[in-house]
Amino acid sequence: MNAMQIANSMPMWITCGVAVVLVIAQAVIFVKKAFEAGPKVGLSKEQMKHAVKSSALTSIGPSIVILSGMLSLLISVGGPMAWMRLSFIGSVMFESIAAGIGTGSVGVALGVDELTPLALTMAVWTMILGSIGWIIFSTFAADKMDKVQKKMSGGNSAVMGLISTGAMIGVFSSMVAQRVVTLNKNALATVLGAILMYVMMQLSKKVPALKEWNLTIAILVAMVIVAVI
């Protein structure tokens, strides 16, 4: 068996499938618990339905981007690993760098040389060892950070609100600034996305049915314009 046949073999599909099932199980359990808890903190069924719908619509664009990233990973480490790593823990950038480090250590340049079984093994192990730090730290620090945040705000809900709004604006400013300062087509796409979103927000004040489609329309139109230029 060559490396690619091993990478795409049934035992690999099954073990990678276990991890994917775990991610789905987590999502289903947490959504179910949130739906049960919702009415008890004063959320209406309507509000929760709106949340599901708009999140589903927002997911589609990024999912397709991740899907296209999976293509490059699929060629280099096989279907099961690419599928598992991008459903679970990973991001396209991390996985390709980690896989490259792994295969490089035994003299195989990822995507250039033919993959050997040893290089595949090194890539798989490096991807795993390089990424468990995120899960271990976030899993064990989540409740501690909860305590720190409460202490910082002194249990004052107005301050908690200021922290969250500030954090949200900080995250998106960071993402936008990082792309705008490159002054290339990515910067243009960012600015156009922003302008079109503003236009859609004004428009949907007059046509409320558009509201949930604002984001999807804005980013698709911005993408097409930048691609055509």
Partner: protein, 230 residues
């Protein structure tokens, strides 16, 4: 009062328990494919080469293991942290979906209602992500290679547009804060790109987001403190 008692005393402790359990299971599950390679095909890594791989990967990413959960925590909250790091794709998918869910349900981030809506938004995005990837991996290269090169090139511009649009969505609510933070963020990134912070290991990967998040929090609190006194 009973609302927040339920949230603090029943909902959160249960979520912490489930979140930790799944986190531990996820670490174990991530090793399964590597163990199968060993047990079924007799393929074990060259351990000393693997040690150098781990060191190189850690040199690039170890700061992110700590900085990302800390930076994103104020945005996604405790329950969101468990979900986001097991499922990955945080800034490009989990946070956008959680915040759009909050917008359409008309709840404020940082409240108990906001946290529950964010959890629903992230969960839905995880399920959709896995479904789309599963269809993609089964249809695999056949589907993807059928796409013309123009389409795959155009997809590169989707995420930048998404971040621009999301920024506007949230900036409209607090124009002054967003303006200040955005200008400072641009200055920061110009500095990072020109290598001002190269003395900090891996700074280009994590410094920007960390400083922006905590800087924006600090500015927001200071601005509102000033308002009350005036």
């Amino acid at each position: 009062m009973s609302n927040s008692n339920f949230y603090e005393n029943e909902y959160l402790p249960q979520m912490h328990k489930i979140g930790k359990l799944i986190g531990v299971l996820a670490v174990c599950a991530s090793f399964f494919p590597a163990i199968v390679l060993g047990l079924v095909y007799g393929l074990w890594p060259n351990w000393s080469a693997l040690a150098t791989c781990f060191v190189s990967a850690a040199a690039s990413f170890a700061f992110l293991w700590f900085m990302e959960p800390i930076s994103y925590y104020p945005v996604v909250g405790p329950v969101g942290t468990y979900m986001a790091f097991v499922s990955g794709n945080i800034s490009n998918m989990r946070i956008p979906c959680a915040s759009m869910a909050q917008v359409s349900a008309a709840v404020e981030p940082g409240t108990n209602q906001g946290s529950i809506i964010a959890t629903i938004g992230m969960g839905v995005s995880i399920i959709i992500n896995v479904v789309i990837l599963s269809v993609g991996v089964i249809g695999g290269q056949a589907i993807l290679s059928a796409l013309p090169a123009e389409v795959t090139a155009a997809l590169n511009y989707l995420l930048p547009a998404l971040f621009g649009a999301l920024f506007v969505q949230f900036a409209m609510k607090s124009l002054k804060l967003s303006g200040i933070v955005l200008v400072l963020a641009c200055i920061l990134y110009v500095a990072i790109n020109s290598g001002v912070f190269n003395f900090i290991p891996g700074a280009s990967n994590w410094l920007g987001t960390l400083v922006c998040v905590f800087g924006a929090i600090a500015i927001n609190i200071l601005m509102n403190k000033g308002k009350k006194e005036a």
